[in-house]
Amino acid sequence: MKSIIERIKNSKFWHFHGGIHPPEQKQLTTSKPIKHLPLPKQLIIPLQQHIGSQGDLLVKVGDNVLKGQALTQSSTPMAVPIHASTSGVIRAIKKSVIAHPSGLSELCLFIDVDGKDTWQERKTCLDYTQLSHQEIITKISDAGIAGMGGAGFPTHIKVNTKADIDFLIINAAECEPYITADDLLMQEESESIVDGIKILDHILKPTYILIGIEDNKPQAIKALQKATESIEKITVCVLPTKYPTGGEKQLIKILTGKEVTSGSLPIQSGIVVQNIATCFAINDAITNGTPLIKRVVTLTGQALAKPQNLWVLLGTPVNYLLEQTAFINESTSSNDNCSTDSLVTNLPVANPPVIMGGPLMGFSISNELVPIVKTSNCILAPSKTEMPSAFDNNSNEMECIRCGQCSDVCPSQLLPQELQWSAKAKDHQQLTKLNLFDCIDCGACAYVCPSQIPLVQYYRIAKAEIRQQQQLDMKAEKAKARFEARKLRLEKEKVAREEKHKKAAAARKAAMSKKNADGGTASSAVAAALARVKAKKAQNKVSDELRVASCEQTNNESSESRVTNSKTRRDTSNVSSEDEKSQVKAAIARAKAKRLAKANANIKESDEIRVTSNEQIIQKKETDNTASDKKARIAAAVAKAKAKAREKTKKRQETLTVPSNETQEQPDNSKPNSETK
């Protein structure tokens, strides 16, 4: 630790591997002060401006909003709110093209500016030392501060740490060509920046504070040195200019000699890195109660007549800024498609290129309605002579000649050439093995490539593909889990259903056997009664004159009752629908008994017409199921008919016994049928 500080004090720094020295082009804007712009007519504020998730909307269409009013609230720790950059009316909440290389549309708030620029009530705080650690963190979070260097990581998460911090590194390197936003901010607002650094010092309590700044900003260095004179802890470290010194890991390496290993975070080595513009925003938020609603943006490039740094309200469309800096349209086609909402993908052909971000890490914007967000530090509008490749839509890519220059300049010490092969072959495993994810997208490899291979674009694509594949894998894993869970659930339900059925069946069975016990005795009692009745009847018949016939009949009937008895017995053993059957049987038995009684009566009335009555019985049995009056009528009719035929039957009395048996047997046969009914 001591040795690190000694080295720094002696202005001896470490080196990171590789790096390039592209033409700086900073002179275009570095000598001009930051200009304040008149209010634009409309602001387009995207709901999501940084890494993480977007917050929940607090306003609706038609609402009047004041400058600095929060428009969303964060529902998760990774989200920070956005604020109205000026007062006005919410005109619409709809999808609009955002500052993203894809040129896709996301939800944005459209604010019609009323021009009054009325502030909401602000709470100033003159002494931040009075505030607790948590209060400061909350204030930073509520002010919507996200890292203003590029990635836009929510600042309150980065500074809310319990770990012991050795070094707080303030990143003022601004190593990318053309960009001077931080440079100018340091020149003009060094006091505020240092106040911001003091607040960070207050909450993080680092051992040392190092400000890393490249030696191509002499005025800013002077201003910072002046502002930090009185503070022992802060050291302004003037570093040799080299791209990409401003990379987090590279800056740490240069200043402390420490390597942040692959996959780990600087915080794990006791280091926190903050951008200089973020420090300014923190001071503004804590001291003035001003949320992050404006930032310095470098408008540069030879296509602009008046390149300059501007204080830009977040949400200002790029075309307004180009207007303000007198954009010279070299291209033959006009700017009229800036109003189209559709995705303009082949922009360089249709329009002169406008690049958001620096020339090495930025991206062309597809639509000039793209708003400035928290992370936009530069709008670059190059001329054709300045950057011919930006105008040329045809790829000049040639075969790799294996010169190895790319690996010489790679600040992450990767093997760009190897990565390129694997990226083209979509060999994701090999790419991961080659530590593709340590690539910081700096573009140094593509810059030096003599074959003009857009190496860094290949890596970006590969990274996105791998990330998507990981997401798909995760989704597949989830789908699998859900599928398994569903299968398990169905299985369980099936088992439960079967169990239920079994239980119900058992219950039914128990109830049945109980009923059977009752019903069985009942039916047997009926059968016994039936037998008794039949026996009586048989006795009656025995007393009849026609002994032989009646005897036979008795035999038949006793056999009948036997059948009934056996049937009842069989039925008792039968489990299902036993009671029903026994009821039917009882009914039948009753009907039979009645019929027999009648028949007996008939026999008593006229012994001669016994046969007729027998036949009547048959008839009655046949018409068993019909209505009783009908039965009676039929019986009467039959009786009449039989009476007519009586003489005939009398004559054949001897022979009649046999057919009467036969006729008697018929009902016996029909009986089981009627029973089963």
Partner: protein, 189 residues
Amino acid sequence: MNILIAILVLGGIAALFGALLGYASVRFYVEGDPIVEQLDALLPQTQCGQCGYPGCKPYAEAIANGEAINKCAPGGEDAIKKIADLLGVDVLPLDENHEQNNDDTSNLPKVAFVIEEDCIGCTKCIQACPVDAILGAAKQMHTILIDECTGCDLCVAPCPVDCIEMRPTPETIHNWQWDLHKIAVKQIG
């Protein structure tokens, strides 16, 4: 005598190795079929059943038992290639019977969408969904949990009122893909 010694010696060796193998088969018994697990990991887990098996795992088991490797339509050529690599067999083109219709949207990831005004709440799609991604109850409108839907298509057919359709997942900045030919960033220099 010599022959007897030879037979005894060889027989002894055979018995020894037999015992060894027998012991090893008990001692190092492999639970389950690891190849099935590996195959299952390569399949896309849409559980769509387009291969003719009820889910990805059963198809993985079938492949392990010699079923053709080119029946997974959602996995496409990628999955076939990976399976071929794993099993050391030749890459086959996707089986035509299992190929999805070849319009240009067929390769886009899709999710089911319930046209809500048409839904009668019959719960048939709920029963068809292999991953429980449909929410609803009898005579209540159903809806799809878009994050859980695997786009397997299985709910489309059972719907009696044809109120389910497959829609491509919207492109957002989260699933957006860089397209090298469309990247306008060439400002290096």
